[in-house]
Each structure stands twice: as C-alpha cells, then as structure tokens.
Symmetry: C2
Subunit: 213 residues, 2 copies
C-alpha cells in the first residue's frame, strides 16, 4: 500500500526502507527532500521523498517518525486537508535534549504527544506504537529472542489499531498489547526515561520489554 513517513532521521529511514522491502510504496516526508535522494536510491523499488504535504497526500497510512518536539510543526506543514481521516501511526517520543543527557519529556504525566496530535487533528485515527524500542528493533523484533517480547498499541479507533497490528506483524512482531485509548500513550512515552537508563546500564540498545504474566 502507499505509506507516507514523516521524518528523515534514522527512525524514518529505517522504517521507510523496511516498508519498501515489504513491498509498500513509500514516500518519506521532510523539510529538505533533496537530502533524501540517496535514501530513495538505496531503498530501491517504490521509494521516494517529498515535502510533508506530498508525503501526507501520498500515504493511505501515515507514520510520524519525526523528533517528538517537532511533530506538531511537521503535521501543520503536512496540512489537515492531506491528513484527512487517515490512520496516523505515531512512533515519536517528545524527548527534550536541550538540557543535555538524560533527556526529559516535553509533554508528560497528564498529557502525551499522542493525545496532542489526536486533539489537533480530531479526524485522524492516531495509533501510538513502536515508540518503546529503537529503530532497528522496530522493524526487526525477531533479532532478539525470536521476538518473544512486547510492543504496545494505544488509540481510540479499534479498527485502526487492528490495521496497524497487521503492519506490526509484517515487521515480525509476535506479541502486541492493546493498552486502550490514546491517553494510554502517556504510559509508553513515560517508559522512555527508563529505556534511556537501561541503554546506559546494559550498554546496548538491543533490548526490549516483555510483560511476563
């Protein structure tokens, strides 16, 4: 299917490349599409780059892989008319590195980035997911314990979460936990401070959370 991916960093490029490999028609959206010519060439097949508005118009599904503190600005550039009532998969985290390491959350506790996006674009069907792992784990969960660990989904639209879960299974995810409505994105976004400390303590980003029950 046609997918628009917002963000030209490691996460956007990694997810975009994986989607192309899976046979999808992907346009990466960014402020400076010229810089992504190499990505589009390297990704091969149905890979292209454009503005946020062009990527939004291209996608039947949109993935927000921008830096979380810039996500709302990116969506504004994309334009509500191009976003429509599409599914937006929000995989960003509102990490603020302005005070150095460790980062803190720019929105948290009584609100979340996922909710901010949903409020700003009420027609969008926002599904928060994948924000609890690094880019390589997002698209290749089987690299670790054959995928015996968890990913979470949060969102108000049950059908949208089911559709996104199909995509997660294409990535290799075996266990998907539906936390509930979009306000549950607070929980997964607030996992990031622990993730960052575990990265330091374990000295590797190749780990993930499994809910043992």
């Amino acid at each position: 299917m046609r997918i628009g991916v917002f963000g030209s960093g490691t996460v956007g490029q990694t997810v975009g490349k994986k989607l192309v490999e899976l046979g999808h028609d992907v346009m990466l959206g960014t402020r400076e599409p010229g810089k992504l010519a190499e990505w589009a060439d390297g990704a091969g097949g149905k890979a292209s780059a454009g503005s946020y508005a062009e990527a939004a118009a291209h996608g039947e599904i949109i993935i927000n892989a921008t830096a979380g503190t810039g996500s709302l600005a990116a969506l504004e550039l994309a334009g509500a008319e191009n976003l429509g009532a599409k599914i937006l998969i929000d995989i960003a985290n509102p990490l603020d590195f302005s005070q150095g390491m460790p980062p803190f959350l720019a929105v948290t506790n009584t609100d979340s980035l996922g909710e901010q996006i949903q409020r700003a674009y009420p027609d969008l069907r926002v599904v928060k997911t994948l924000n609890t792992t690094n880019a390589s784990m997002m698209v290749d969960p089987r690299q670790l314990a054959d995928g015996d660990h968890d990913v979470f989904v949060s969102g108000n639209d049950t059908a949208a979460k089911a559709r996104v879960s199909e995509l997660l299974r294409e990535f290799g995810w075996r266990s998907i936990i539906d936390l509930g409505d979009i306000s549950t994105a607070r929980g997964t976004e607030m996992l990031l401070p622990l993730w960052v400390r575990l990265y330091g303590a374990l000295n590797t980003p190749v780990f993930n959370f499994k809910i043992v029950r």
Copy 2:
C-alpha cells in the same frame, strides 16, 4: 536483622510479614500503632508496631512503604536523628489519586520521590527498588515464571545497593538490574502509568517486566 518499615497499608504489612517469616525483627511505623496490634499478632515472632520515630530507631535498615505523597511527612515524623546514615529502601510511588483514575505522578520527569528523600536527608543511603510491582510480587517473585523477570535498583551508594540486593534475593528475586544513581529512580517511578494501564488491559496485577536482551 532489625528492620523498620514505614507504612501500615497493604505494602507495608505484606513486606513486614515476609521479613518476619525470613527471621528478621520488624517494627512497622505508623501514625496510629494501635491499629496494627492485629498485624503484629498475625505476623508472629519478632513483629511489633510503633510510631515512625520508634520504627526508625528500631531499624538497622528502614523501608519506606508509605503512600508516596505522604512519604516526606512520614520521614519528618521519624526524625533525622533516628534515620542517621542508615540504608533507606524506598519502595513508594508518588501516585496522586486526587483527580481520580488513572493517577498521575506528584513529582516526575526532572525529579523523583527517591531524589527528594535523598536531598532532604543527605546522610541516608537511599535505594529505590521494588516500586515497579504490586505487594504480593515484591515478596514472592517466584510466583510468576519462577522469577524470570526483573527488579531494578537505583542509588548513590554502591555498598548500600549490594546490601539491598541481598535482601531482594532473600525475597526470591533472581535478576536485579542496577540502573545507576538515585536520579534513575525517575525511570522506575515513571513506569507506573504504564503499570496501571497494563493492570487494566491484562485484568490482573500479577505480571512483571522482563528486560529481554
């Protein structure tokens, strides 16, 4: 050894009873020790109840199992002279239920309850741990997957973390992850919003996090 446990709720009583079973001499500290006569009788052996000050004076190690929003007030009643340079195991979470469910955190993101306690009592050797599970899991991790899941420790004093880890192993914990200094308590306290949502989604408090790596 002699242990003072602050808090007369489910967590304090459960942890206190387990410590007595393990052969420790436990005094529960509370505002109204009279209410704990039944606990002391039921726990058997070396179990008693007293004021916060009496429990603090009693313990070679102190465990903070009060409601997180009341912890600093409890420690003030205990008195710096009774706390001294002892190890304080902080298992509380600063959950604020005043706005209903789900709770939010009264301190978070750029600070934590663990850090607040450490700052207020610089001589105390604060170790944050066990705050990421419910009371029954804290003292009996083997009830789930034979203990194949994780507990975290945060604290500035390496020797204190080693001593607390011994106690955790007495409880049955097999895997203990040292996150670093007391500021890493932000990470585990910020896990609570996800814990609360998982409790709802899974419909049981009998689960725990395992860091797959």
